[in-house]
Amino acid sequence: MDFPTHLRIQNLSVSYGDHLALKDVSLDVPDKKITVIIGPSGCGKTTLLKSLNRLLDSVDGVKIRGNIFVDDEDIYDPRVEVTHIRKKMGLLSQKPQVLPMSVFDNIAYGPKIHGTSDRKKLSRIVERELRAAGLWDEVKDRLHEPASQLSVGQQQRLCLARGLAVEPEIILGDEPTSALDPQSSRIVEQRLIELKSDYTVIVVTHILRQGRRIADYLAFLYLGELVEHGPAEEVFAHPKDPRTRAYLTGEIS
């Protein structure tokens, strides 16, 4: 491969009972770029994303084969500490998932769990992350109110900030703008683009235009199969596989 990577997926297959959700997927994810995984709904995008931080483990009847390496460590090795893997990856869900606590505690949740108990230090982290998310001015007077009282757009930015507070290496976005209005979506997209200077970003989406706006690297998933992947401009301009072409022109959705 001609780009640096520290997240490698090798021959990953996932099945739920009899249903094969992912078939032999191999993908190297480029560092400090936005990799967008596109594909029609039900193609296994979310499954792929959740296999990366082992959230699939808790699903009943799931079988996972293959390897995923983060920094050359196989995350499915039984000796690996799963909280450690998850801490490395911040997840942004489809709908903003604010924890049932205050704005402040939402951001402080991760750091607290990982051992930061000093109140001053936590305050610094909270302010830093909220400022970085451009939320500080909007919420600085409401830090101790329930986070559920923020607008949906603010909630999603809060969730992103919360994910960054545990200092991850990789950011996973599972259709992160699907519940947002167009303007909030733009803010979140903009934020993701800013973040790629420091983080490796993987975003799953079924909105093609979003892919065009933010993707550096593109992977097309169809019926659990990784059909095609490559630099975004290349794939968008000259898709090699007929299925990718059909999807990009809107024939399959």
């Binding site: 500490e81 909280t83 450690h84 769990i113 051992g115």
Partner: protein, 285 residues
């Protein structure tokens, strides 16, 4: 906290959770086990086939046929009464009223309230009604009160299943020209039959096992009732009175009676499980 401490905390709590689950499930096994083992010395076929000889309190011979039959009469009558009242209510709530209408909200709320009222209060209420009407403790009075006791249990359980019927199915019936009544009987009742039957069985189980509501209302007797106006013995009360006897043999008969009642409850629960399995194959999901 270090990762090790966090993991230890989780391990401790997981142990406590498993221990709790063992306590909960284990208590059922221990209860049934104890009752069965203790009942063995007194458990004879005559328990099932004879009425008490020498009085339920001191008699060591005979059986509890009076209580078994009494309980079956009482619970069957009460369950029938409860079905006749609760099924129309539930159909009316789901078919004729809007979900948020005042009547529906108030009725569901009343059912919730009734559901929470202890059976001894039903008994006391039954006693007042009987006094007012000049009735004596009888099978009829027992059926009436236990029927009311079963009403909220049955209605709530039925409401839960009937609420799940897709509106599209109801609309489809209307669009074929069926009236609401026809839709109610032919579509809704048929579609949710297993759920309805389960509700009936649950209520029957509660009815046959309840003692506090029948103390005042059904009375107790050593013979099998031949009319609705005679008092009737019931299994729970038979157990209660036998246990109060100073004679060891009679106390053992209480254990045996408890085992019989438990077996009846187990059988009801088993039947309802089988019913659900069997019927759900024929309903549209």
């Amino acid at each position: 906290m270090t990762l090790n401490k966090r993991k230890t905390e989780e391990r401790i709590f997981k142990f406590l959770m498993m221990a709790s689950t063992v306590i909960v499930t284990g208590s059922l096994l221990v209860i049934i086990g104890t009752i069965v083992v203790k009942s063995l010395p007194a458990l004879r076929l005559t328990m099932l086939t004879q009425t008490p000889k020498g009085g339920y309190y001191l008699g060591k011979e005979g059986g509890i046929l009076n209580a078994i039959v009494g309980s079956l009469y009482l619970a069957s009558g009460a369950t029938l009464l409860a079905v006749l009242v609760s099924l129309p209510i539930v159909l009316y709530l789901n078919l004729y009223t809007k979900k948020a209408s005042a009547l529906a909200t108030f009725t569901r709320f009343s059912l919730d309230v009734l559901w929470g009222i202890p059976s001894i209060v039903y008994g006391a209420f039954g006693f007042i009604v009987m006094m007012t009407l000049g009735l004596r403790a009888s099978l009829l009075a027992g059926i009436f009160i236990v029927g009311l006791l079963e009403l909220p249990i049955m209605a709530r359980a039925m409401d839960e299943v009937i609420r799940l019927i897709p509106q599209a199915l109801i609309d489809a019936s209307y669009s074929l020209g069926a009236t609401k009544l026809e839709t109610a009987l032919k579509v809704i009742v048929k579609q949710s039959l297993p759920g309805i039957l389960t509700a009936v069985l649950i209520a029957f189980g509660r009815g046959i096992g309840d003692a506090a509501s029948v103390i005042f209302t059904a009375g107790f007797t050593d013979s099998i009732p031949t009319s609705l106006l005679q008092p009737a013995a019931t299994l729970p009360l038979a157990i209660f009175y036998q246990l109060g006897s100073p004679l060891l043999e009679v106390q053992q008969r209480a254990y045996a009676s408890a085992a019989i009642l438990t077996l009846i409850i187990l059988a009801i629960s088993l039947i309802s499980r089988v019913l659900i399995k069997k019927f759900t194959r024929h309903t549209i999901r």
